[in-house]
Amino acid sequence: MDHQQQADNTRWTLIFSAWLIAAVSTLGSLFFSEVMELVPCVLCWYQRIFMFPLAVILLVGLFPLDTKVVNYALPIAIIGLFFTVYHCLLFFGFIPENLQPCGKGISCADASMELFGFLPIPLLSLASFLMIIILLLKTRTRQ
């Protein structure tokens, strides 16, 4: 195996992992809303808007491997990260309640947004976006 092929293999694995996280996050959030019928709050919706396309675009980048997909996926993931960070700050009370933009429907700081009673959904979202960004950035450093 030559050097180029090895580098491609590594990149494939990185993009595949990023896609896996995006796909699991997408299905997970669909499970919350469609199966468990939890109504997504406004901030959740914005994060979904930036998570769902990652599951599609990264998959396209794997068939066949096209590392340029990182250029398109990274901005989406980074914008998503901004929303998640804001949401986490809100959820853990670093930003006061009255500043939250959620009007109608479920509150973005609602404690019911916890998986198994202790894992807050905004934190899961933060972990997903962060990991996706790190994995995608790694494809660039290992040229």
Binding site: W19, A23, F31, V35, M36, L59, L65
Partner: protein, 216 residues
């Protein structure tokens, strides 16, 4: 290529896991719903609830409805047809779940009409004219008066009767009972105390059929 197979296999496995998880979750939810309905069976038909059909009928449909709810409007003729199709065998109990803003006023109109023995007629009118007075999921009773007048009802008396504090109590009771029984959406049906396996026309029909078969 081996990598392509890995991706395809992953997609399939994730889809399967999702379906399995949904299946188990729904089964578990149904069990909880059944238990909840059984546990609070005495909250299902309080003395104040309005009933239609033969009181001796062996199949009772309890419907939690919201006058401003579009799906309730669609189910209204279906339920009426059921009562007509099986005369004497099915009766209907209406409970209120006024979740839309302003809906409690519409319920008050219904209860006021009940005092003139016009409940069912007014309910028909309300659903028929829903698009005129329910705007953007908000019930506007002031837009309904014209409809009532058109049918020759004593609107002044209804407006006076709907102020009766007993009506507020009925609404409060119905909302509390609905919460106990798991009626979080409208319409919610219970047939002989049993909730639907999942919401839908077919599910309601099959539950009614099986209760009819079991009792007649």
């Amino acid at each position: 290529m081996k990598k392509n197979y890995i991706v395809i296999a992953t997609v399939l496995v994730m889809g399967l896991l999702f379906a399995l998880a949904a299946y188990f979750y729904n089964t578990q939810q149904l069990e909880t719903k059944n238990k909840q309905a059984k546990q609070h069976a005495n909250a299902l038909i309080p003395p104040h609830a309005i009933k239609k059909g033969n009181p001796q009928a062996k199949v009772t449909i309890v419907e939690f409805l919201d006058p401003a709810c579009g799906t309730c409007k669609q189910f209204h003729p279906i339920i009426k047809d059921l009562l007509k199709k099986y005369p004497g065998k099915i009766n209907l109990v209406v409970r209120y779940a006024p979740f839309h803003p302003g809906s409690d006023q519409m319920v008050a109109i219904l209860e006021a009409a009940r005092k003139q023995e016009q409940f069912w007629n007014v309910l028909d009118m309300m659903f028929e004219s829903q698009e005129y007075w329910a705007i953007n999921h908000q019930a506007k009773p002031e837009l309904f008066w014209g409809v009532l007048k058109g049918y020759g009802l004593d609107v002044a008396r209804i407006q006076q009767d709907m102020q009766d504090p007993a009506i507020k109590k009925i609404i409060k009771q119905d909302l509390a009972d609905g919460a106990l029984l798991g009626a979080t959406k409208t319409p919610t049906f219970f047939v002989n105390g049993k909730p639907l396996s999942s919401f839908g026309y077919e599910q309601l029909m099959s539950l009614v059929q099986s209760e009819l078969a079991a009792n007649y």
